[in-house]
Symmetry: C2
Subunit: 208 residues, 2 copies
């Protein structure tokens, strides 16, 4: 561990997959700006300024402002989906897997709420092609949750009269964390994850 000191926890640094360094700095600046003001209210000058560069520098690494949003959205969705699947595909009862899935999915949305806000709420700002690509990823997220719930119903663990509706509500609940979560608030991402996992278990009729 020589360059770019880690926090020691073993967690890899965010946006490590983006290179070169200048492109990553621009992307991080864009995430902050988009999350704060929204895509349309953010100017390319603002993004470049936050990254400590001139407005023109942005266009060396990205063709358009929309491409920046797409890159953020794509990477963010990939990560959220990976986190969800890791928990969903684990061992254990449906209740245990649903708990793990909600806990980690919600935890990610809270801990990375700036990224999550952009990922979840700026979908309409994408161009038509990029949007359909992202929508496909969201459908996979949907399926992952629905599969756990169906497993639980089949095993007799859950009592769910309306599986598609409940799936929709569970995901809606988790995603909306990105909108209201605030670092200055009283709850840590882990605490929110635990609370939500409990609430979701109750929703599927497998409460404590």
């Amino acid at each position: 561990m020589s360059a770019a000191e880690e926090t020691g926890g073993g967690e890899e640094q965010p946006w490590g997959e983006v290179s070169p360094d200048a492109a990553r700095r621009l992307l991080i600046a864009a995430v902050e700006a988009f999350a704060e003001r929204g895509y349309h209210a953010t100017t390319t000058r603002d993004i470049a300024g936050r990254a400590g560069m001139s407005p023109a520098a942005l266009y060396i690494h990205y063709k358009t402002k929309e491409e920046l949003l797409h890159r953020i959205s794509r990477i963010g969705h990939d990560k959220a989906l990976a986190i969800l699947r890791t928990a969903a595909d684990g061992e254990g009862t449906a209740a245990e897997r649903l708990t793990a899935a909600v806990r980690s999915f919600v935890g990610w949305h809270a801990a990375h709420h700036t990224t999550a806000r952009v990922v979840q709420y700026e979908l309409d700002a994408l161009g038509a092609e990029h949007r359909t690509e992202i929508v496909a990823l969201r459908r996979k997220t949907d399926e992952a949750v629905r599969d756990i719930i169906n497993d639980g119903v089949r095993a007799g663990e859950f009592d769910v009269p309306d599986v598609p509706g409940t799936t929709l509500a569970v995901l809606s609940l988790c995603i909306d964390v990105a909108r209201w979560f605030n670092v200055a608030g009283r709850r840590t991402p882990d605490e929110v994850g635990a609370l939500y996992a409990d609430l979701v278990l109750r929703m599927v009729g497998a409460g404590t």
Copy 2:
């Protein structure tokens, strides 16, 4: 019943409180445009065009584009809060009142999802003064829901370890309906309201 034929249900027409007629047409056009593309991506020319008027006509009835958003947000919040309180202040057990509250609040968000989308998701686009005014209204919404939950806990009807957290989650769930509800979807606003009322009852430990 002579002018502006009603649907017969006794429901008064939306935005009836806005006059004169041209101002109401502009406001309705703005709601549609804001809901579709977002506040910042909507131009004053677009709003005026939808209302069948020239761009300058907007400024006869509204001082700025932001004032239009504020009017929409204010009226929408008032209406949503009124609907919630009517149900919350009714007779019956806490469970019955919570059911009625969620059912009508969610039903409104689904039926008027274009308005609700603007009201709930364009808060940041308001100016500082207008935003604090609206935030105060949202706090009252929060209190109304928390009061019912507290009543239920006190009466022994509900089992809620974390009242503020559960209140937050319930409202988050209800509000997010505005984001995903689609007229082309399979569910009517009433059906969504009934489903959500059931889910919320489970969340507070008073499930069927």
